[in-house]
């Protein structure tokens, strides 16, 4: 029971319960999230720090999807400018600054893949990718190696069909329909492999549900 220091009785029994707010996010003032909040207020030097913190994740994602350093660099530039331009849309309560930037990057990289590639080129990609694992094509970086191991370990925990669907969709930049076509599987099956695979990854990585 709450007591107030002026001795009044707690009136909660007679009251309509207020909608309870989640405790607001406390930001470590040195965190990338706090820096990004400052970027939203126009702070250019905070943006420099945000660039250094998130651009490897952005470039790595672009490289994994586009498989070409020049294209990946172009898209990275677009994404980092978008991070600056739309920093007011970042909500620290919804996730990390890095996750937000990587999500923007993946979307742009996928849009680029789909707009420049003809069907023939997509088919060629499918042939080229057979037997490759996504991490093999990415330049190894010491930083993030631990995180990479965690993700790799959790990907290994997926069933073969879940693994295949998730990797083709995420790193291959394909729609689920394209994945279904490539795997000659029913659409509903591919949709649930992707969803179940991601749920399993989510739980393995300990992402709050």
């Amino acid at each position: 029971m709450t007591t107030t220091d002026n001795g009044a009785d707690d009136p909660s029994g007679a009251r309509e319960p207020q909608p309870v707010r989640r405790p607001a996010v406390v930001l470590d003032e040195h965190s990338t999230e706090a820096l990004l909040v400052r970027v939203a207020a126009g702070d250019e030097s905070a943006f420099t720090a945000v660039y250094d913190a998130v651009s490897p994740g952005v470039f790595g994602t672009c490289l994994a999807v586009l498989r070409d350093r020049d294209h990946a660099a172009e898209v990275t530039q677009e994404v980092m400018v978008e991070v600056w331009r739309t920093a007011t849309r970042f909500d620290p309560a919804r996730g990390s600054a890095r996750a937000w930037a990587v999500t923007l990057a993946h979307r742009r990289a996928v849009d680029r893949v789909r707009s420049v590639q003809s069907q023939r080129a997509r088919d060629q990609r499918a042939i080229d990718e057979q037997g490759e694992r996504p991490f093999d094509v990415v330049h190894e970086e010491v930083e993030g190696a631990l995180e990479r191991e965690r993700v790799r370990g959790c990907l290994d925990g997926l069933t073969a069909t879940q693994h295949e669907a998730v990797v083709l969709a995420y790193y291959g930049g394909r729609t689920y329909r394209e994945v279904a076509e490539q795997l000659a599987a029913p659409l509903a099956t591919v949709k649930s492999r992707i969803r179940d695979g991601l749920i399993r990854l989510r739980d393995c990585l300990g992402v709050p549900a």
Binding site: T2, T4, D5, A8, S12, P17, Q18, V20, R21, P23, A24, V25, V26, A34, V37, R38, A40, A41, G42, E44, F47, Y51, D52, P56, G57, V58, F59, G60, T61, L63, Q77, V81, W84, T88, R89, D91, A93, G95, A99, V102, H106, V110, F135, H139, G144, E147, R148, V151, A169, Y170, T175, A188, K191, S192, R195, L198, L201, R202, V207, P208
Partner: protein
């Protein structure tokens, strides 16, 4: 009359957007499907929550592919942003640097109003601004500080420049003194001399609305000093703190240690 089960149809009939949440999180949908999912999460909080978890998971797949971008990209981007306006910004993109006289403080206030209100706010330990107590006079001296401290100071000076600002003081049960600055839209809570809350515990701020505590942030404790600004207040609200598990609580699990209410 029984309805046919269409889920096993050979062609994919009207899709339940719920089935697309995973694909959406991987950007593996087309624009029509994308909009269907976005309509779903706008009305279904459970689906929205599931999507948030899946999106965060997908982001880890990307982050794991981390690679250093070409060095020359950095200066290209840093240069480009100086010429790029931001969405939601009311004023010029560059920030004021020097100590701000009241007129500039008002300009800063209108610049900040252009930034969309958030439920998130910065809880900061008392910094080089150093004052152990907040003076009751409205005048606030900004001295030249690091940019970070300036940002906090500007937020506080905005608050103090607000004509609806009320300053309230109180003693904290168990030790310490608290001061609140309450306006119609924001409130500053600051306290000093607080005892250690104990292992695994922290001070939590509550907004008191008609006697009901609304949970607000857990406060970072810097040697017995805490400070926070919240915009989750309405006219007439008060501020209170309790000691809670450091994770924070939805309802107070211990006694209110100080209650600051506008007169």
């Amino acid at each position: 009359m029984t309805t046919d089960d269409v889920s096993g149809s050979a062609t994919d009939g009207p899709a339940d957007p719920r089935d697309l949440l995973g694909a959406y999180a991987l950007d593996a949908v087309d624009d029509v499907e994308r909009r269907a999912v976005e309509r779903l999460i706008a009305v279904d909080p459970q689906a929205a929550r599931e999507l948030a978890g899946l999106t965060a998971t997908a982001a880890m797949l990307g982050a794991a592919a981390s690679a250093a971008p070409p060095r020359e990209l950095r200066s290209t981007v840093l240069d480009q942003i100086t010429r790029t306006p931001q969405v939601g910004a009311a004023g010029p993109a560059s920030t004021a640097r020097a100590a701000a006289p009241p007129a500039t403080a008002r300009t800063r206030a209108s610049h900040r109003r252009g930034v969309p209100r958030r439920t998130v706010w910065l809880a900061v330990a008392a910094t080089a601004l150093g004052a152990a107590t907040v003076p009751s006079a409205v005048a606030w001296q900004l001295t030249r500080q690091t940019q970070q401290v300036e940002q906090q100071a500007l937020a506080i000076s905005d608050l103090l420049a607000d004509p609806t600002a009320t300053v309230v003081r109180g003693s904290v049960a168990g030790g310490g003194n608290a001061v609140g600055v309450l306006t119609n839209e924001q409130a500053l809570f600051t306290a000093t001399g607080l005892p250690d809350p104990g292992a695994g515990k922290a001070y939590q701020l509550w907004v008191m609305r008609d006697g009901v505590p609304v949970p607000d942030a857990v406060l970072a404790d810097n040697d017995g000093r805490v400070r926070a600004i919240t915009d989750g207040v309405e006219p007439g609200d008060g501020l209170a703190i309790t000691v809670e598990p450091s994770r924070g609580s939805e309802h107070p699990t211990s006694d209110v240690l100080v209650l600051l209410t506008p007169a």
